[in-house]
């Protein structure tokens, strides 16, 4: 007997929660306990009084599972709101920041700088034999930049994971 898995679609969820100890563990624990995927997760507090945090989770699953994930998150006591940014007209903006360290000299160093320019990555640190680039964009764009940097002496990457927000004048 083989164990079967189902293909899914990617969804970005924006979750507002009480900014208190243990909330993140509760949410990530829910995903592991129920076998849901987390592709990326970001969290930071978003109100002046530090009472609320916003968590952005990129997950994937068949539509009924996505619906379950939202319902399961929504019933957690410290969760205020769960919004599927892929709902309805799907209109939202996603960004991710990566810090990319590249080491090398000569042609590869020049090539790295040229490609960073094409991707509008900023140089935030340099030595005679290295750069650290800061790149902002969709995860796809960051992926492509990192793939290119692999050819130019990539030594280290740090990424934030996705933050996302719905288009238009309305708040969440």
């Amino acid at each position: 007997m083989k164990i079967k898995t189902e293909a899914g679609e990617r969804h970005v969820l924006a979750i507002t929660v009480d900014n208190e100890a243990g909330v993140l563990a509760k949410i990530t624990g829910l995903f592991t306990a129920r076998g849901y995927n987390i592709e990326s997760l970001t969290v930071a507090d978003i109100t002046a009084d530090h009472a609320l945090s916003r968590i952005t989770i990129v997950t994937s699953g068949p539509p009924p599972i996505i619906d379950q994930i939202i319902a399961q998150l929504d019933r957690l006591v410290p969760v205020h709101r769960v919004v599927d940014l892929n709902d309805a007209d799907d209109a939202h903006v996603e960004r991710e920041i990566a810090l990319v360290k590249v080491a090398g000299t000569g042609d590869k160093r020049i090539e790295a700088l040229r490609m960073a320019d094409v991707f509008r990555a900023k140089v935030v640190d340099t030595t005679l034999s290295s750069f650290i680039f800061e790149i902002t964009g969709t995860s796809d764009k960051v992926d492509r930049f990192i793939a290119l940097m692999r050819e130019c002496g990539l030594v280290e990457v740090g990424r934030t994971g996705v933050v996302a927000i719905a288009r238009g004048p309305e708040a969440l």
């Binding site: 007997m1 009480d18 509760k26 306990a33 006591v77 205020h80």
Partner: protein
């Protein structure tokens, strides 16, 4: 606003919340609270013999009264021993508040003596939990915890209180009105959904009510509303294990329990129905059988207070989120406002009567007085002997539990206490202790298996201490019967470790604890033995020896559809493919 110690605040909060009983066990990290409880005039503390039993006793108290059960245990092993009961309460939606002691805040994280990460361990087996770091927060948190445990879908809430927070002084405050920032369950059903549900019921030709523990949790009025709606619509009713008692078992519209060990008629009716009205039930795998064959031709209405229960396992046509009782009331009001009357379900009832004619709960037995007692007969005899006494029945987990569900009839809610979701062996006896504490004058009987009972048998001491007249009725077949039954079905009767070896002499054990012990060996002794149990004041343990190899039927084997029930032992093949073996 009064200055007092954290421990006094805990006790004050319990008093303010109307708590009359706490089940617990003392230890280093809760000594200040125990001192505050010393000779307390209104809160009775029940000293159990193991913390797991405290949680099950609290569940028994809660399930039989509708009030939250309260548990008090120490840090470390006290808290970890409580975890099974907390998880049990989560899966069966039982309101419970568990107060755990914790090492002082200054020692948290240092692997201190009897330290464990209680909030971490219980994070996913509670509805919510708290670690209280400031005595001023104790009042608001305890009040909020009771609110969360009892509102929406009920469940267990843990409050972990470090010892220095119990000793320190602070200001006790009570929130005037609990309006949680984020936790606001929808109680009132949506009016449009109710209107649609009424239209669907009125248009159906083969409807069936499928009710669950949510109806019990919604209170006795919800059970009354269910009876009224059933009589208005004329539709048949089946129920899950957790929902037994919401609808009277002697009503002609009652089809019996559904699911793995449900009746043939209820499972066939679910399969052939054109409308399922699920009320406070969650389409558990024990109920649905093979999912792709589950009620293929029906529309489904799902009434549930927990939005996440809807479409979790079976996609439904209409969701009604809200309290089961309120939803039933709204359906009745709408039905009457539209002046609808029951349709003629004559053809539907004729088909149901055809399924009933299989008499699926019949069992083969010898009638001679010296014959071995069939376990089903023992349950039926207990039911007959206790009729009119309005007993509270608890069970452990296994074959005896299913036989009790099949053969014991219930006329009202809150009289049937069993571990459905988690299936916790060792639940029934302490649950009976909790129910007896809440109802000192009532007949409380734990129908037990000899294996399950031993998982919390130490509570015999608790019963003796508080002079509780709990009766334990053991269906003793010297096997972990359900395990053995599955081994017979799936593993060609290779009975790996399912024999109850080295059993104690239960009669002598009764004597050792100051109970009355009885043994029933043959059919001829059964009725008199049960009568003696009922008539004997104080606690009684009955070692009722039953036919050892009897199996529980009917049964939907794992991986099979509602229509593929095993009705009799000779339907068993003894092997199973891997897909079916992999299902629990």
């Amino acid at each position: 606003m009064t200055e007092m110690s954290g421990a006094d605040m805990v006790v004050q909060a319990l008093v303010d919340l109307g708590v009359d009983t706490v089940f617990g066990y003392p230890g280093g990290a809760v000594l200040p609270i125990y001192d505050a409880l010393f000779n307390h005039p209104s809160i009775k503390h029940i000293l159990v013999r193991h913390e797991q039993a405290a949680t099950h006793a609290a569940e028994g108290y809660a399930r039989s009264t509708g009030k939250p059960g309260v548990v008090l245990v120490t840090s470390g092993p006290g808290a970890t021993n409580a975890v099974t009961g907390i998880t049990d309460a989560l899966l069966d939606s039982i309101p419970m508040v568990v107060l755990t002691g914790q090492v002082p805040t200054t020692l948290i994280g240092t692997d201190a003596f009897q330290e464990c990460d209680t909030v971490g361990i219980t994070r996913h087996c509670t509805k919510h939990n708290y670690l209280v770091m400031d005595p001023d927060r104790l009042g608001p948190i305890i009040h909020e915890a009771f609110h969360i445990a009892t509102h929406g879908r009920p469940g267990p809430v843990v409050i972990d209180i470090p010892k220095n927070v119990q000793v320190a002084t602070g200001t006790y405050s009570v929130p005037e009105f609990i309006q949680h920032n984020s936790y606001r369950p929808q109680v009132e059903p949506d009016a449009d959904a109710i209107a649609q549900a009424i239209d669907m019921i009125a248009a159906s030709e083969r409807p069936i009510f499928y009710t669950g523990g949510g109806v019990i949790n919604a209170g006795p009025d919800a059970s009354a509303a269910l009876r009224q709606l059933v009589s208005l619509t004329g539709a048949p009713v089946t129920s899950t294990l957790m929902g037994l008692g919401a609808f009277p078992s002697d009503d002609p519209k009652w089809l019996g329990m559904l699911g793995m060990h449900g009746t043939y008629e209820s499972n066939m009716a679910m399969n052939r129905a054109d409308l399922i009205i699920a009320v406070g039930a969650r389409f558990d795998d024990r109920v649905t059988g093979r999912l792709d064959a589950f009620s293929p031709d029906s529309k489904k209405i799902h009434i549930d207070i927990d939005r996440s229960s809807i479409n979790k396992i079976v996609p439904v046509d209409l969701a009604v989120v809200g309290d089961a009782g309120r939803a039933l009331d709204a359906l009745i009001a709408g039905w009457q406002a539209k002046k609808l009357s029951a349709r003629d379900y004559g053809e539907w009832w004729r088909r149901i009567d055809g399924w009933r004619a299989t008499r699926c709960l019949d069992f083969p037995e010898k009638k001679e007085p010296d014959a071995a007692i069939m376990p089903q007969r023992a349950v039926k005899a207990l039911f007959d002997a206790t009729r009119g006494r309005d007993p509270i029945i608890t069970t452990e987990v296994g074959q005896h539990q299913m036989w009790a569900a099949q053969h014991f009839g219930f006329a009202a809610p809150n009289r049937w206490l069993t571990s459905g979701g988690l299936g916790t062996m060792g639940y029934g006896f302490p649950a009976a202790v909790g129910a007896q504490i809440a109802h000192p004058g009532r007949l409380v009987v734990c129908i037990a298996g000899e294996a399950s009972l031993q998982m919390n048998i130490q509570e015999m001491g608790t019963v003796s201490q508080y002079r509780l007249p709990v009766k334990i009725f053991i269906l003793n077949n010297e096997w972990m019967g359900m395990v053995r039954q599955w081994q017979e079905l799936t593993y060609e009767s290779r009975y790996s470790n399912s024999y109850s070896d080295s059993l104690p002499d239960f009669v002598k054990l009764a004597d050792a604890y100051g109970w009355t012990g009885l043994r029933i060996d043959t059919l001829g002794e059964l009725e008199a033995g049960i009568q003696t149990m009922i008539d004997t004041p104080g606690p009684v343990i009955v070692d009722c020896r039953v036919a050892q190899l009897a199996n529980c039927f009917p049964m939907i084997p794992s991986g099979a559809a509602h229509t593929d029930m095993i009705l009799q032992p000779n339907d068993i093949v003894g092997t199973m493919d891997d897909e079916a073996k992999a299902l629990v």
